[in-house]
């Protein structure tokens, strides 16, 4: 089932079904993770698009360095978040419907895949430098010749991730629109 289909299924469900499937409430760590992720996504998309559009020059290099740094931070952050969610799931602290779980785990997968694609692209291209003399370690053989393809898919998946974020916002609005018992049960 695609994320869009699962989201539509969730939206088609009557409010009582949504309420039945969504129990639990936000916790402060989840809220912090969520809004940090929002900031990272906005910054990474903005820096990536603008740097890509600038293409060359010092400003572009600076933005690319920031983009790479934020990408690594995002990757580390999302791995921590996935660990936190797994612990919550194992402890039974969080329950939600299958469609929403599928949407969220697709989002987490995209959050992992997109930085890795970018990292592999710059490893192949040979542009792992950040600020100063600090460089990212290579995760892909340099000069393998797949840099353009990897970076292109990096961009496509990044915008796919944005589409998933849009779907996620729609599902969240649906939940907020439902009665107050289900508010805050999904992120």
């Amino acid at each position: 089932m695609t994320p869009a289909a699962s989201a539509h299924e969730a939206m088609d469900a009557p409010p009582s079904a949504v309420r039945r499937l969504t129990v639990g409430a936000y916790r402060t760590p989840a809220k912090v993770f969520h809004w940090i992720a929002v900031g990272l996504v906005v910054f990474m998309v903005s820096s990536g698009v603008i740097a890509k559009q600038l293409g060359e020059g010092a400003a572009a290099d600076f933005l690319f360095s920031l983009h790479k740094l934020s990408g690594v931070v995002t990757l580390a952050f999302i791995l921590i978040w996935i660990g936190y969610r797994l612990i919550c799931s194992l402890l039974g602290l969080r329950r939600r419907s299958i469609s929403r779980a599928a949407l969220h785990w697709t989002l987490y997968g995209a959050f992992v895949l997109v930085p890795l694609l970018g990292w592999a692209g710059i490893s192949d291209f040979g542009a792992r430098e950040l600020f100063g003399s600090f460089s990212l370690p290579p995760i892909w053989p340099q000069g393998a010749g797949y840099d353009a393809l990897l970076l292109q898919w990096h961009a496509y998946f990044a915008f796919g991730l944005l589409a998933l974020v849009a779907l996620h916002i729609g599902v969240a609005l649906q939940d907020y629109m439902a009665d107050e018992n289900s508010v805050g049960s999904e992120d």
């Binding site: 009557p14 809220k31 559009q53 496509y156 729609g170 609005l173 649906q174 907020y176 009665d179």
Partner: protein
């Protein structure tokens, strides 16, 4: 993730959609601005490179030391232009990719906004409009929408309340109509019941008049009967009082008889005790007689012993005489003594014979005494038995007389009670007579009341029939 007051209303949703689209459009605008600036810079650079190249061509070798330098300069100018072209191509490729992705994302977001808002805003409005038009059985739909917290939820809640109020009013109207119909039916039934009741009352009044007349006659008859019974009750009272006096006299006599019987019984018991004492005296006399007879027999044995002694003495005297004779003169004195002893023995034998004869008389007399005493004891025993029988009979008679006394006493009490009851009956008959008199008066009044009731019911029937018609 938002505050609890966030309920995804239309304004809030529009703000979020605007932020999403604004972010994408902002990126798009920035790419366009950067693109235009890059194009302007590239155009300027290309213009400068082109101008330099054209100047180089126009100079036609002037200003160069040799051809090689001129050719090198020309190649450098061409390389500059090619570099500018490559940069332009690269930037254009980046621009196209950014634009394509941003446009696709914008289209996706716009389509999503359209689909979701159609589901959240337009479709509910259409469905609720159908509900308002009455063309859809959508109470469940309305209830589902009423759970939402946005404007559609408020609208659906208002509609639900409105429909609930309408249903309530409709139910109330239907209930009122049903109640009105029920009241009309009850009034009709009441009218029918009233007419039936009036007819029934008329019939009852008619019968009541008949019963009143008969009751008046019966009460008069009852009065006469009560009078007769009262007089007879008076006679009965006198009779029972006389009977009561007779019974009291009988009780007194029976008590006297019982007292006499008791005295006789006591005398008989005393006689029995005297007979018992006599029996014991006779027994003692019998014992004494037997003892005397025994004593006589003992004396007889003594007499026999004395006779034996006398015979022995006589033999001894005889022997002494013989010996005295043998002795001669020497024995003469002894012969005298023997002779005297022999005489004494003879007198002793005579005396003992006399005693024996008298003893035989005493023994015979004591035997007769014993027989007579035995006969006397038997007679006393018989007397004692007779006296005991008389005492038992007297006691039984006493018990019977006491039972008769008790029963007679109870009879006297019952007779007294009968007398009291007869007096009470006489009093009751007197009161019954008064009641009969009262009933006679009441029946007379009842007859008048029945006539009045008949007149009132006839007037009421005429009135209700006039109203019913």
């Amino acid at each position: 993730m938002f505050h609890k007051s966030f309920t995804a209303r239309v304004g809030e949703r529009l703000a979020i959609w605007g932020a999403m689209l604004g972010f994408v459009l902002l990126l798009y605008a920035m790419t366009e601005i950067i693109r235009s600036r890059q194009m302007a810079e590239l155009a300027a650079e290309r213009q400068r490179a082109t101008a330099a190249a054209m100047a180089h061509v126009a100079a036609n070798g002037a200003g160069f030391a040799n051809d090689a330098e001129r050719i090198a300069t020309g190649k450098r100018l061409i390389a500059d232009i090619e570099t500018i072209n490559r940069r332009q191509a690269s930037l254009s490729s980046n621009y196209r990719q950014n634009r394509l992705l941003l446009l696709l994302l914008s289209a996706f977001v716009i389509v999503q906004i359209f689909i979701l808002e159609y589901r959240w805003l337009i479709k509910p409005i259409v469905r609720m409009a159908e509900v308002l038009r009455g063309g859809a059985q959508s109470s469940r739909t309305l209830q589902a929408y009423a759970l939402r917290r946005d404007e559609i939820g408020i609208f659906a809640q208002a509609l639900t309340s409105h429909y609930a109020l309408m249903r309530k009013q409709q139910s109330a109207a239907e209930a009122e109509q049903a109640a009105l119909s029920e009241r009309l039916r009850q009034q009709e039934e009441l009218r029918r019941e009233s007419l039936a009741f009036q007819a029934r009352i008329g019939e009852i009044v008619r019968r009541l008049e008949g019963h009143s007349s008969r009751m008046s006659e019966a009460s008069q008859h009852l009065f006469s009967i009560a009078s007769d019974a009262e007089s007879r009750a008076g006679v009965s009272v006198q009779s029972t009082e006389r009977v009561s006096g007779h019974v009291d006299a009988v009780v007194s006599s029976i008590r006297d008889i019982a007292a006499a019987l008791t005295a006789v019984a006591e005398d008989a018991e005393r006689t029995a005790s005297v007979a018992t004492a006599a029996r014991s005296s006779v027994q003692a006399a019998e014992d004494d007689a037997k003892a005397m007879s025994e004593g006589a027999r003992t004396i007889e044995q003594v007499v026999a012993l004395i006779e034996d002694v006398a015979e022995q003495t006589n033999l001894l005297a005889l022997n002494a005489t013989i010996e005295a004779a043998r002795a001669g003169e020497a024995g003469r004195g002894f012969s005298v003594v023997a002779h005297e002893v022999k005489q004494l023995a003879t007198r002793t034998s005579q005396a003992t014979e006399d005693v024996r004869g008298r003893l035989q008389g005493i023994i015979a007399a004591s035997g007769r005494i014993v027989d007579r005493v035995a006969a006397l004891a038997q007679a006393i025993e018989h007397v004692a038995d007779v006296v005991s029988a008389i005492a038992r009979s007297m006691r039984m008679q006493d018990a019977n007389s006491q039972a008769i006394t008790s029963n007679t006493t109870k009879t006297a009490m019952s007779v007294h009670e009968v007398a009291a009851t007869v007096k009470d009956v006489a009093g009751m008959i007197g009161r019954a007579k008064q009641a009969a008199d009262t009933v006679t008066k009441v029946s007379t009044d009842l007859h008048q009341q029945a006539a009045d009731l008949r007149a009132a019911v006839e007037r009421f029937m005429e009135t209700t029939e006039r109203i019913a018609v």
